[in-house]
Amino acid sequence: MSQSRDAVVIGGGLNGLVAAIYLAKAGRKVLLLEAEETLGGSCRATTALAGVRASVRSSLLIALDPRLAKDLALQGLKFALRDIPTIALQQDGSSLTLARDVNGTQRALAARSPGDADTYRRLRAEIFTLARAMRPFWCDGASTSPPDTLLSRLRRTDAASLLAGFESDTLKAALAFDSVAPFETGSALALVWRAAQEMCGLQGALALPQGGLPALMEMLAATAQAAGVEVRTRARVAKIIADNVVAGAALESGEEIYCRAVLCSLSRRKTLLDLAPKGSSGFSETQKLARTSAQNGEGSILFLLNAPADFGSANARYILADRLEAFADTAIREHRFPDELQIEAFVPTIADPTLAPPGQHLLSVRVQGLPLMPADGWPALSVKLVERVTAALERHTAHLRARIVGLDVQVPREEEPFSGARLASSYRARIATPVEGLFLCGVAAEPVNAVSGRAGRLAAGIAQAWLAREKRG
C-alpha cells in the first residue's frame, strides 16, 4: 500500500496534465498516472518518421483554452500560426476561401453565387449571435445554461438543415466538416460551438503552436514537474477503487494507490463501465453507456514530403468534401469503407520548418467518418485509405505521389460519440460522475471531441472544491 494522496489523475494527455497542474498549484498532492511511456496523449510525438516530431493524429489546435497560457504561465508558448483560413477544394480544381474576414469571404463567394454570399452572411451572423450567448457556458464553464428558447431550438436542429440554404455542394460539405456529424440531431450546436471558439481568442479558431503539439505537451510536462505533480508513466490503471465514494486506483501491476479524488481523462464509457466498480454508476446509466458507442471515427495520415504540397495558397486548412450527403453514408453502419471521403489537409512545415528535417515537409491529413471496425480489418484497409487519400489530394496538388518520402497512418479509434445533449449540458454535469469523488477531466467532459484543456481546468476546480468540502465534513 502506498501513502495517501489528495488526488490521482488518470491519463497524461493535455487535459490530464492541465488538471494535475491546477490541483498541484492549489496545494494538492497529486499523482499523475500515464499508461504509455511518454506523456502527451493524442498530442504527443507518435510518429516513427525519422527526424519528425509530430502527432500523427493532428497538427492543429482548434480550441485551446486561452486561460491556460496565463494561469499556468506558459511563457514558452508561441504560435507559428494563428487564424488559419479554411479553403474548400472543389472537384473542378477551383477553391472557395472561408477566412475570418467575413466581407472578403462574402466577395469571394459572390463571384460564384450571389445567393450563397448572402446566405453565408446571414448564417454567420445568426451563428455568431448564438455563439455569443453560449460562450460563458462553453468557454468559461458557467453552470447556468443560456436561455432555453435558444438551446431547445438548436438541440433539435441538425447542421445539414442549417446549411441547406446554400447552393454550392462544396460549401455545404466544407462547413459541415466542422460539425463532425451534420445529420445528427443537435449538430447545429456544433457549428455554433466552433464559432464560439473563435471568440475565445484568436488561437481558438485554429492554431499551430511553435514546435507543434509535442512542444506544447513538453511545456506542460515541465510545468507539471515544477508545480510538484508526481508523474508515473507505464502505469496503466486496471480499476478505480470505490465504495460509494472514491478511494483510489489499482494499477495493472496490482499496486493499489489510495487517494481522495480521482480525475480520469479516459472516455466516459471506459471510466464508468470498465474501471469503476460494477453498477456504481447506476443500473440504467450503465446500460445506457453500454448501448451508446460510436461506430465511426477519424483516421489520420502524416506524409513526409521532399517539397511542400502546393494547394495554391500557403498556410490554409484545406477541406476536400464534395457533397454534404456523403456524411450520411450508410457504409459505416455496414462496416464498409465509405465511397466518398471527407478530408482535411494542412502543411504545418511552411509556418514552422522545424517540425521536419531540413528541406522536407509534412502534410497532415485527417479523414472523417471512417468505420471503427471494418469487415476487412484495419491493417488491410489502411493501405487503401492512403491510396484513396493520395489520389483525392493529387487532383489539387501536382506531383504529390512523387514527393512522398515517408508516411505514417493512424487508424480510427473509439471516441466519445457525438451527442446534441452533450453540447447542451454544462461542464459541471459532464465532469461529475455518479461515483462521489470521481470526475471526468478529458474529452468526455468537453461538449465535442476537441482538445481544449478546459475540461482539465474546470474538473480540477470542481475536484478542488469537493476536496475542500469533504475535509470539513
Binding site: 460494477k278 453498477g279 456504481s280 443500473f283 446500460q287
Partner: protein, 362 residues
C-alpha cells in the same frame, strides 16, 4: 388492452368455492375477489384465521458467485447481513432514487437468494443481474397464506414442526411433499409454497388443519383490506412504482418506506438521489366519513390541495371507508381534517388502523 390470464395451481379448488364467480386479475393471474361474504372474510384474519391463494406473488431466484454483490447494489439493505434461512424486507430504487419495487429477500445459501414481491420487475432485476453475471429465474409455484390469531395453531396442527420466527423460512419434506414454509408476510401468519402438481393436495390438507379453528377462505379483496388496515402500501395497488430507470418519483420518503433503507448501507442504486430528494410528503392513514371508498382521489386541506389517497376500501371492523394517502407534511398530523373534492370529510389517523393480531399460542 389484452390481458394474459393465468390460472393458479389452486384454480380448480378456488373455482369450486367461488360461488358468485367473482374474479379479479392481479399480476396476470386470475384470482377470486371473494368467496361470497366479503365482510366475514375480512373479519376472519382478525378473529380466527383465513387462507388465501397467494400464487400470484412474483418470485425470482438469484444465483451465482456475484449474487451478493449484485443484491448489495440492488437493495436498500445489505444482503451480507443475511444468514442462510433469513430474510428481510427492502426496496429497490431507480438510478434517481424512485421506488421501483419492494419485497422480501430471502437468503437460501451463500450464492443463492430469492425475492418475493407483489409486482414483477423482471427486466430491471434481470438486466442488473447481467452486469454481475448472475442468473435470475422466475419461479412458478403454488402458494397459500394462512393469517389470523389461530395461524400458529394451524401451523402446529398441520405438523410443520417447530414454530417459525418472523422473516425466516424453512424447506421441508412434509408428508410426501416438497414444500417451503415462510413468514415473509406482515400479518402474523405464514406461507406455504409447493410444486404446482402438489397444489391440490396442499389445499386439502391445509383446509383440514384449519377446520377446528373456523378458518375461512379469503379472496383478494379481504387480503387487500388486511394490508390496508395494517398500513402496508403495495406497488400497483396503492402507488405507481417507477418504471423508467431515471424516474425521480415516487420517493421512499413520500411512501414512508424509509424504514426499509439501512443508513449504513452505502452502495445501493439510487442512494445519493434518494437522500437528496425533497421531503415534502409522507404517507398517513385516512378515515373517511361514510362507507364509500375513495381510491386515488385528491385530498384538500382548507380547500387547498394537500395530497392524494392511495388504495381505499370499506372496513367492516371500523365500520367506515379507509384509505392510505400521501399528504404534505403540514397536513400529516393525526387528527388533521381533510376533505375530498365532493365534500366528504376525511381525517388523518395513525397507522396501522388496527393492530396486527397476536398469534394465539400456548
Amino acid at each position: 388492452m389484452t390481458m394474459l390470464v393465468r390460472a393458479t395451481p389452486f384454480h380448480s379448488r378456488v373455482a369450486a368455492a367461488n360461488r358468485l364467480n367473482a374474479w379479479v386479475n392481479r399480476n396476470d393471474h386470475t384470482l377470486a375477489a371473494h368467496y361470497g361474504d366479503v365482510n366475514a372474510e375480512a373479519i376472519a384474519p382478525h378473529a380466527t384465521a383465513a387462507m388465501a391463494d397467494i400464487s400470484w406473488r412474483w418470485r425470482v431466484t438469484i444465483e451465482g458467485a456475484g449474487s451478493e454483490e449484485f443484491l448489495t447494489r440492488l437493495l436498500t439493505r445489505n444482503p451480507a447481513k443475511l444468514s442462510p434461512g433469513q430474510a428481510f424486507k427492502a426496496l429497490w430504487l431507480s438510478d434517481r432514487g424512485a421506488v421501483r419495487g419492494a419485497g422480501a429477500i430471502a437468503r437460501f445459501g451463500r450464492e443463492s437468494f430469492q425475492i418475493v414481491a407483489t409486482q414483477s420487475d423482471f427486466d430491471w432485476i434481470a438486466r442488473g443481474a447481467a452486469l454481475f453475471d448472475v442468473r435470475v429465474r422466475e419461479i412458478e409455484e403454488g402458494g397459500l397464506a394462512i393469517v389470523g390469531p389461530y395461524a400458529a395453531k394451524i401451523f402446529e396442527a398441520a405438523g410443520f414442526g417447530d414454530p417459525l420466527e418472523a422473516l425466516k423460512f424453512r424447506k421441508l419434506f412434509w408428508r410426501g411433499l416438497d414444500i417451503t414454509l415462510s413468514r415473509f408476510g406482515e400479518h402474523a401468519g405464514f406461507e406455504v409454497w409447493c410444486k404446482p402438481d402438489d397444489a391440490l393436495i396442499l389445499w386439502g390438507r391445509l383446509l383440514k388443519a384449519g377446520e377446528p379453528f373456523a378458518m375461512k377462505l379469503a379472496g383478494l379483496h379481504a387480503m387487500d383490506l388486511l394490508d390496508l388496515v395494517a398500513g402496508v402500501p403495495r406497488p400497483e395497488r396503492d402507488y405507481e412504482a417507477a418504471r423508467d430507470g431515471f424516474a425521480t418519483a415516487p420517493t421512499p420518503f413520500e411512501l414512508k418506506l424509509e424504514s426499509l433503507i439501512d443508513d449504513d448501507h452505502l452502495l445501493f442504486n439510487g442512494r445519493a438521489a434518494s437522500l437528496s430528494a425533497p421531503r415534502t410528503r409522507t404517507r398517513v392513514g385516512i378515515e373517511l366519513d361514510g362507507d364509500k371508498p375513495a381510491p386515488h382521489a385528491p385530498l384538500l386541506h382548507n380547500g387547498q390541495r394537500a395530497g392524494r389517497t392511495m388504495g381505499s376500501l370499506y372496513s367492516p371492523a371500523l365500520q367506515r371507508a379507509i384509505a392510505l394517502a400521501t399528504v404534505d407534511l403540514s397536513s400529516a398530523k393525526p387528527g388533521t381534517r381533510l376533505t375530498l373534492p365532493d365534500g366528504t370529510a376525511a381525517k388523518v389517523v395513525d397507522l396501522p388502523f388496527l393492530p396486527v393480531p397476536d398469534p394465539i399460542a400456548e
